[in-house]
């Protein structure tokens, strides 16, 4: 909420707390429901029916017809300036449908979705690009579709080109661009429309790592300028790092709303069928039936100290051991383990069995793999660990998406982003100090 408006020239209305609070709301979705039909033929027929009944004003939208189901049912959310909202849920839970309703593409069957200001969907990068036209011509067409006037496009043109790093190729046909260049141009166009709300679907898979970093920086910048976000992602870190609030959709219902971490915890708990328990730094996995199992099942995951006691938290510079207990239903000759330690969605440490030439041959039964870390190099903070076990390089046997853990400081970590193991020494006197080196 803004308490001071410095550039408001017409101060005819005295700013009261209530009006500024409600004027901060850029998106308000109330009781939105949407039904879809599973059969294409019927869906087309219902389409005609809906058009007819809408035109005659006799539309009854709150009843399901045969073969229909609620893709969204009674979803509520509000978004204020500068806020980030995460949408989570498994595939088919209605996330994209909700985004399409917010962007005004489809009409809800019940409820309302009110939007104040321009919505930029980062779902539709480069929509309307014509492959034979040049980058320049396409920028004009694309940004015009996104709702900018010619004057506005001209003002932003150079910024778009610079951001997309297209350079000389701007006057070449878009079909000669690499897929990365095309995506960059699409992203640059969308991001420069100065939207009030950004809709981001799934991963921002545009270009190389360097450009990805640039995109994230730009999003961060927009956010500070007051742009609101709706982010759809399967990546818990992306949600947690960008959004304060989240909505967890399950089969079209908003099952949880509120603080992102709480909602995410519930989502993850549901994802692991509610049986995963985590106590004192040990994660227990539910027993899988034979039909669920892919041949190898994780049993527990934990950190221990070298003497074998479970560690609730790690400490920078101290030794630690990652213990992975699993049960092999079948013998596996090439068991390959991959461990990623991540912070805010970025992998900080990756340890791959095949990279380290550590591929195991396991027989049927219980096993434990231990990875000893002589000194934890991570800086203090919260991390998640992702562990997957594979047969050869591709066949995933079992996976743990996120094991949350905390690293504490050992007291000498200020200003450092990783722990550098070191020893200090003082040498004194002519004999000890190599004076030849000083002279020369």
């Amino acid at each position: 909420m803004k308490s001071l408006s410095s550039n408001g020239s017409n101060g005819s209305k005295p700013p009261s707390e209530i009006t500024s609070a409600s004027s901060d709301v850029v998106l308000s979705v109330q009781g939105v429901s949407k039904k879809f039909c599973r059969s294409l033929k019927r869906s087309l027929f219902y389409g005609i029916q809906d058009i007819g009944s809408e035109l005659t004003g006799k539309r009854k939208s709150d009843v399901l017809r045969p073969n229909e189901f609620w893709a969204l049912k009674d979803v509520n959310l509000t978004l204020r300036r500068g806020e980030g909202l995460g949408l989570i849920g498994v595939n088919g839970s209605g996330k994209t449908t909700l985004l399409r309703i917010i962007s005004g593409l489809i009409k809800p069957d019940a409820g309302t979705a009110r939007v104040r200001g321009r919505v930029a969907p980062l779902i539709a990068l480069g929509a309307g690009f014509s492959p034979v036209l040049t980058g320049r011509e396409n920028i004009y067409a694309n940004m015009s579709i996104l709702g900018l006037s010619t004057q506005e496009i001209e003002d932003r043109f150079q910024a778009v080109v610079d951001f997309a790093e297209i350079g000389e190729a701007i006057d070449a046909p878009v079909q000669t661009y690499s897929s990365g260049m095309g995506a960059r141009l699409g992203f640059a166009c969308a991001i420069h429309t100065d939207p009030e709300i950004l809709l981001i679907d799934e991963v921002l898979a545009v270009g190389d790592i360097q450009f990805l970093g640039k995109c994230h920086r730009r999003l961060h910048q927009l956010r500070e300028q007051g742009t609101a976000f709706v982010l759809v992602s399967h990546n818990p870190q992306a949600i947690l790092s960008m959004c304060q609030d989240a909505i967890y959709l399950h089969k079209g219902h908003g099952v949880a709303t509120g603080n992102a971490e709480t909602v995410m915890a519930q989502y993850e708990a549901d994802l692991f069928s509610g049986n995963v328990s985590k106590t004192a730094g040990v994660m227990q996995f539910p027993r899988k039936s034979r039909s669920e199992s892919l041949g190898l099942d994780l049993v527990t995951l934990s950190f221990k100290n070298p003497s074998g006691q479970a560690l609730e938290t790690l400490t920078s510079g101290d030794p630690a051991r990652i213990c992975i207990q699993f049960f092999a239903q079948v013998a596996i000759a090439t068991l390959n383990l991959r461990i990623s330690l991540m912070k805010e969605g970025q992998t900080i440490v990756y340890m791959g069995g095949s990279n380290d030439k550590q591929v195991f041959n396991v027989s049927v039964g219980y096993h434990e793999i231990q990875v000893d870390l002589p000194q934890v190099g991570l800086a203090p903070g919260t991390y998640t660990m992702r562990v997957d076990m594979r047969k050869d390089a591709l066949f995933i046997l079992d996976i743990c998406e996120s094991f949350h853990f905390t690293v504490e400081s050992n007291g000498s970590m200020s200003k450092s982003i990783y722990y550098q193991p070191r020893t200090w020494k003082l040498l004194s006197g002519d004999r000890e100090v190599d004076r030849d080196a000083i002279r020369s």
Binding site: L44, G47, L105, A124, S130, V132, N138, A141, S144
Partner: protein, 254 residues
């Protein structure tokens, strides 16, 4: 209207795309009327086809009429093609949806502009005197385009759902041609003449021709009636299009 600027951008984009991938370019706008005129003139001269007397030399009559008829059919299929071509865009971005229709109309106008070169050449070649009322011909032409657009716009939402519409329309415009005085002059009597007269495209197309050649509209009453149908139809179609499109988009893949 905010969609005007967008429509202009889309028009520029589409025309550029179209002509950049073509060697012969605007040549394609000339060919169909010339080809039709050639075939029909040969048939007429050989007395295979007996079409009665026309006010101007038959080849010129056919070419001129074909150019008008083509403009009309472009206006009919235009909205349907525009919606089909813009599907990926419509499914992803919320923009004023009239823009693609306006842009399509712009293309119809652009194409007619090119055909106009042919028509002018034709009048010079056959030394056909033009009436001063030719300056009113564009009004009648606009009514003709409005009629075509009304039909196309009304069908566009359904066509986006069912492919049958597009197929049926190809057939329908083919048949429609024979019930419009394009390759023959307006028949005066008989049941066929009755059907041709009931066709709303007849008075509009005839009016354009009459204004250019004769200097008067032969049947002003039918002309204004058909114009009324076109105007009201366009209004209705536009309303239907606005209401119907969200339901259509819902059924397009994102």
């Amino acid at each position: 209207m905010a969609s005007r600027e967008l429509a202009w951008r889309l028009l520029v984009r589409d025309i550029n795309t179209q002509y950049r991938q073509s060697l012969l370019g605007i040549f394609w706008a000339f060919v169909p009327p010339i080809a039709a005129a050639l075939g029909l003139t040969l048939a007429s001269n050989a007395n295979v086809l007996n079409v009665g007397a026309t006010a101007i030399p038959y080849p010129a009559y056919v070419m001129f009429s074909m150019a008008l008829w083509q403009t009309f059919t472009e206006a009919v299929v235009g909205p349907i093609q525009a919606v089909a071509a813009a599907k990926p865009m419509l499914a992803k971005i919320n923009f004023p949806r009239e823009a693609i229709i306006l842009s399509q109309l712009g293309q119809v106008g652009f194409n007619f502009g090119i055909k106009l070169i042919l028509i002018i050449g034709l009048f010079l070649w056959f030394k056909i005197p033009i009436a001063w009322t030719v300056i009113l011909a564009p009004v009648a032409l606009l009514h003709l385009i409005a009629l075509g657009t009304a039909v196309g716009l009304l069908l566009a939402p359904i066509a986006a759902l069912y492919e049958d519409v597009t197929r049926g329309l190809t057939l329908a415009t083919g048949v429609w041609l024979f019930f419009t005085p394009v390759i023959y002059p307006l028949p005066q009597e008989g049941s066929f003449a009755q059907i041709v007269r009931l066709n709303p495209a007849t008075p509009l197309l005839s009016a354009v021709r009459d204004l250019a050649i004769l200097g008067r509209v032969t049947d002003p009453q039918s002309f204004w009636l058909a114009s009324g149908v076109a105007g009201l139809g366009l209004l209705l179609a536009w309303l239907v299009y606005r209401v119907a499109l969200p339901f259509v988009i819902e059924r397009m893949s994102a």
